[in-house]
Amino acid sequence: MPLLGITALSKEFGGLRALDRVSFTAEEGEILGIIGPNGAGKTTLFNLISGIYPPSGGEIIFQGKSILRLKPYQISHLGIGRTFQIVRPFQNLDVETNVLVAYGHRFYPSLWKSTGPFRQPGNLREVQTLIERTGLRSYAKHLAKNLPLGFKKRLEIARALALQPHLLLLDEPSAGLRFEESAQLMELIRQVCDQGIGVLLIEHNMHVVMDLCKRIVVLDHGSKIAEGSPEEIRSNSLVIQAYLGKEA
């Protein structure tokens, strides 16, 4: 059984087909690359998986169960964490508190537990560990809005990891980063994946995708036009056309 199974997933916005009968599967401990030109529907795919809006058709099976009708918070409780293409940390909370919000997923369902104080040594210790793992230690007490972009992206990953996810959806984590920053971030993603977490990685930088992913799904105009190993994708004529067509 795959970790995530997407079948004929579609989404229409008004008349526009942002996603058109897309199917693929993702496994635990695998980094699956999702690429495609601007407007291909990559972010829309993530928004459907994380329940931000309902699909127009198709099915999403996570760990053997449909998550189609679930709300975003329920999906996150099942163990799907995500980051946003345009970062959206809780700007006026510090890094530690940002991560605590997601760590609280185990308390929120019970009203009684929710009344307990969140700054408990046990909670803080676990959050501290995540902050260190994501290289945010020196920023722990800084407000999110004051972080450089690269660290905001790390914060989003730390926050998603606090959900103890089985699946992580990363939307262009290296966009806007300098080369070294991006390389460090990729190393972090590799470590996450080595722990058995499945990763869907939307990425514009071909070097990064080709380097990190054994398997890649290519979207164009809402449809899946190719799927395969980096070598197969590189030599696929449809993919070359989609990218060259855009550039021309």
Partner: protein
């Protein structure tokens, strides 16, 4: 001995502080705009007034029940309201206020334009409470709410509210049941406003629909915004300042809704953090002064 006039002002201020504090839970902590908070103030006042005058309940049960009823109405209205987008929420809550006021005004059961009279101060030790005693009673209740507020601020509930206030969509993706925590804020804020309504009714001894109109909602919101939305002491400072001003100046009393409405817009434009907010001129000056005092030349 405190003069009767002073006690009246003090009681009014504590009631306003309670109202501003309760609205602050909804608007400051959970980030949900409400332009109809006076509706729940009114529901509390009318509930305790009816229970007291018609059903013969004593103060000690009619006032807590006022909070319960306002809380329940808050829950029933909150669930559909809080699913709508922010800009609709402002209009919806305003609408609720007009409907509630109209119900008090046009349904004879609630006394119509004449309102309800004959609501007395509570009895204890076999006699009626004096006004200073009443003042201390509601002050103690208010202090209890302040302590509760501090506990909530440190709890997962407070953290969930903060995340919703910051970014609702991100909060949802991080495991926060957004609707549920919004409704919780709405229930709590409405219940405390209802309790304040009960206290108000028994203090004024008669109530009328106009006491709970849209203008009153604006007054309460002005106090919160003026003092510092989302802060613990700001709404209290707002209630004290804006509560005392009309007492010492007739013109302010006459044009209160207008003046406070303009003040509200001005604050939102130039000092959105309010008097005691972290970014305000006042707190910056204060911080600078402290800094100068502690830092060596």
């Amino acid at each position: 001995m405190i003069s009767g006039y002073l006690v009246t002002i003090l009681i009014t201020i504590v009631i306003y502080a309670m109202l501003a504090h309760s609205l602050n839970i909804i608007t400051g902590h959970a980030g949900q705009i409400s332009l109809g908070h006076a509706a729940f103030f009114g529901i509390g006042a009318y509930t305790s007034a009816m229970l007291y005058t018609e059903a013969g309940f004593p103060f000690w049960t009619s006032v807590p029940l006022a909070a319960v009823v306002a809380g329940i109405v808050g829950a029933l209205l909150g669930v559909p309201c809080l699913r709508v987008r922010d800009d609709f929420l402002a209009i919806t809550t305003m609408g609720i206020n007009f409907v509630v006021e109209a119900i008090f005004l046009y349904i004879p059961f609630f006394g119509g334009a004449m309102g309800i009279g004959g609501i007395n101060l509570p009895k204890w030790f076999g006699r009626e409470m004096t006004k200073p005693e009443y003042f201390f009673l509601i002050l103690v209740v208010f202090v209890f709410f302040l302590l509760l507020d501090r506990q909530l601020g440190r709890s997962w509930i407070g953290l969930a509210w903060a995340s919703i206030r910051e970014d609702e969509q991100a909060a949802g993706a991080m495991g926060v049941d957004v609707v549920r925590f919004k409704v919780l804020a709405f229930i709590l804020g409405s219940a405390i406003a209802g309790l304040a309504g009960g206290f108000y009714a028994h203090f004024l001894t008669f109530i009328m629909p106009q006491n709970f109109g849209f203008g009153q909602s604006i007054v309460i919101l002005s106090m919160v915004v003026f003092g510092g939305i989302g802060t613990r002491w700001g709404p209290i400072a707002g209630a004290i300042i804006l509560g005392v001003l009309p007492e010492i100046s007739r013109p302010i009393m006459e044009y209160r809704t207008l003046i406070y409405g303009v003040l509200l817009l001005g604050m939102m434009r130039f000092q959105p953090g309010g008097l005691l907010g972290p970014e305000s001129i006042l707190s910056k000056t204060f911080q600078r002064t402290i800094y100068r005092l502690v830092s060596p030349e």
